[in-house]
Symmetry: C2
Subunit: 359 residues, 2 copies
């Protein structure tokens, strides 16, 4: 056996930033750039492998597979939020909430459980890991679920910044809610104020301390959604949680996947004054900012059904500011029109709002 040295092939000789040949930050922002990367590269081929249900081709919050007369919902998210502790939450509670909410958005409000894969940097404080664990446990109890299984990997100092947590949720539901079946006439409800998570995180990261209280809205919504579905079982036809890319991305996904136009009444969209003011200071558009405890809900059946859903939402602390904000229309399918009260303008979906590691 001959032993010889060969040139280092393990190294980091990557192409320079910029250009189409490399991954850029915009590919992670939840906008058009990310959708193109997923569509052109990451999902290619997999979408052609048949599944008994809705897999990657549906590009929904998760997959839905036929199991007997029920649907098995599976959803996954990697969490890279920075810093890991922020006003109103931390990466642990955020991960559990995000996964519980993705299940709920597809109609599955009673999770069988979640899996948790943690990648942690050498030198990370055990006390911080314990704090993150406690937050996950508390949020699981709140949502009536648990961590079923997990994995732990350690990377060396400087190889990962702190901790990355990937959670996957599984749940069974007899009623599947999707995001591609909206029709003209369907009404759109948002379950509360928008922008809270992203603005609180960016203000914290920019070291702004404001006289007012800014905090993330991260919370599991499954109990609230369960009540809304019970109040109007047939009327809720679509749901999406407006996380990365904000309300704007969620509206655009509704419009393009259901091939309807959407009109949103700007003055009806609930937003805290301090969020609006801070977003202005930071030069951010609250419509493009991530929320982690909100649901965008499409309702069919007119004013009576809208009232029933609003009442159910408002019965929970997470839904006290729920509001009717718009409707689906037959004109301009795929477009989102913002009615400012003074006039109408097209809401442009951002290429990818520059908010790295927001969730």
């Amino acid at each position: 056996m001959t032993v010889v040295r060969q040139p280092d092939r393990v190294g980091r000789d990557r192409p320079p930033a910029g250009g189409d040949g490399v991954i850029a930050m915009k590919h992670g922002f939840g906008g058009r750039a990310m959708r193109r990367l997923v569509g052109e590269t990451l999902a290619a081929g997999f979408v052609d492998i048949p599944v008994d249900g809705y897999g990657l081709a549906a590009m929904d919050d998760g997959a839905a597979l036929r199991v007997g007369d029920q649907w098995l919902i599976v959803t996954t998210d990697a969490h890279v939020v920075h810093p890991v502790f922020f006003p109103g939450g931390d990466i642990g509670g955020l991960a559990v909430s995000g996964t519980v909410n993705d299940l709920a958005m597809m109609g599955a409000t009673e999770p069988l459980g979640i899996t948790c894969a943690i990648v942690v940097e050498e030198g990370f404080a055990r006390a911080d890991l314990e704090r993150i664990h406690d937050s996950m446990l508390r949020t699981c109890r709140h949502a009536g679920t648990t961590v079923l299984t997990g994995d732990t990997k350690v990377m060396g100092r400087g190889e990962v910044d702190g901790v990355v947590i990937t959670t996957t949720g599984v749940a069974l539901t007899s009623r599947l809610v999707r995001d591609s079946v909206l029709r003209p006439g369907d009404q759109l409800i948002i379950s509360g104020t928008i922008g809270d998570h992203g603005v609180a995180l960016m203000a914290h990261r920019h070291e702004l301390t404001l006289a007012t209280d800014l905090h993330s809205d991260a919370a599991p919504l499954n109990a609230m959604i369960r009540d809304a579905l019970a109040a109007a079982p047939e009327a809720i036809v679509a749901m999406k949680d407006p996380t990365r890319g904000g309300l704007s991305s969620a509206l655009h996904e509704f419009a393009s996947k259901s091939n309807v136009g959407i009109v949103v009444h700007e003055r009806d969209v609930p937003m805290r004054d301090e969020v609006r003011a801070t977003a202005e200071i930071l030069g951010l558009d609250a419509f493009h900012i991530a929320n982690e405890g909100k649901a965008l809900i499409g309702v069919r059946g007119g004013a009576e059904m809208v009232e029933a859903v609003l009442e159910a939402l408002r019965g929970h602390p997470e839904g006290v500011n729920a509001a009717l904000i718009g409707e689906c229309v037959a004109t301009r399918p795929g477009d989102v029109v913002l009615d400012t009260g003074l006039g109408k303008r097209l809401m442009v979906e951002s290429e990818g709002e520059p908010l790295p590691r927001i969730c």
Copy 2:
């Protein structure tokens, strides 16, 4: 609203390395240190939340939940292997194989599908991401499964080293195989040579080019395991894939969870000469080195059943070197004894073999 500056709270002022207060590399090596971290911190509390089946408390390859008259198996793994391309494989095929194999070890050989969460560094080459994607797709087709849903996050340059891929698998099975029900008299089979993955990776990382061919054994084993289960449906009572911590960790888990003694006949354990020689050069113990395409199988029912399982395994390219390597005994419950042919010695489970980012 008053805007004031406050001290940076987002930063990286971590405790120094060493000591019990921080995460060390050993916490990721699959040995005792990792098991303590998981038991004392990460799993605490979750194990007390009841599930209909086997959750985190079982500390198995995954969770098993009752769904009608079947078991829903759920398993997750984060993959941080460095470098991402190595002799015989890459992070993409490794991730799919690892997840398919964890499902198979619990008796679920027909995955419903897997989820894929990718965290990628800004500046990572798209061509490399495409190569990883192609490998995942190829491995999925080989295993008869697909990616059902996913997530993509981008971290800035220097915030994550290349790419981290977390895959979660879901599958249904009517027959659940666990790792805690071995009894004295049960026989132990390994499905092929040990040490290939870890030694190939370490040799590559140490820039050794050897006249002989070293390559990872990463491969999905579900077709082979399906045939073995069909050949001896009642006889296969326990399975585990000897990944991190190697064959030694898998044997120790069998012994401690089933509360049996285990005797392993060293000369019967299949190992390639080049793996043995390279492990010696690198100062590694092949029994402690990760495998990514092997199964340790506990068989009940005597020589006839052992032959049936071996024949089924050897009918697949991944199982041609399958061998009977030991048995469970009533003496020294929890211990693993290595019979070298010249004498017997206790096999010590490593605290955590220093092989960072091996999978």
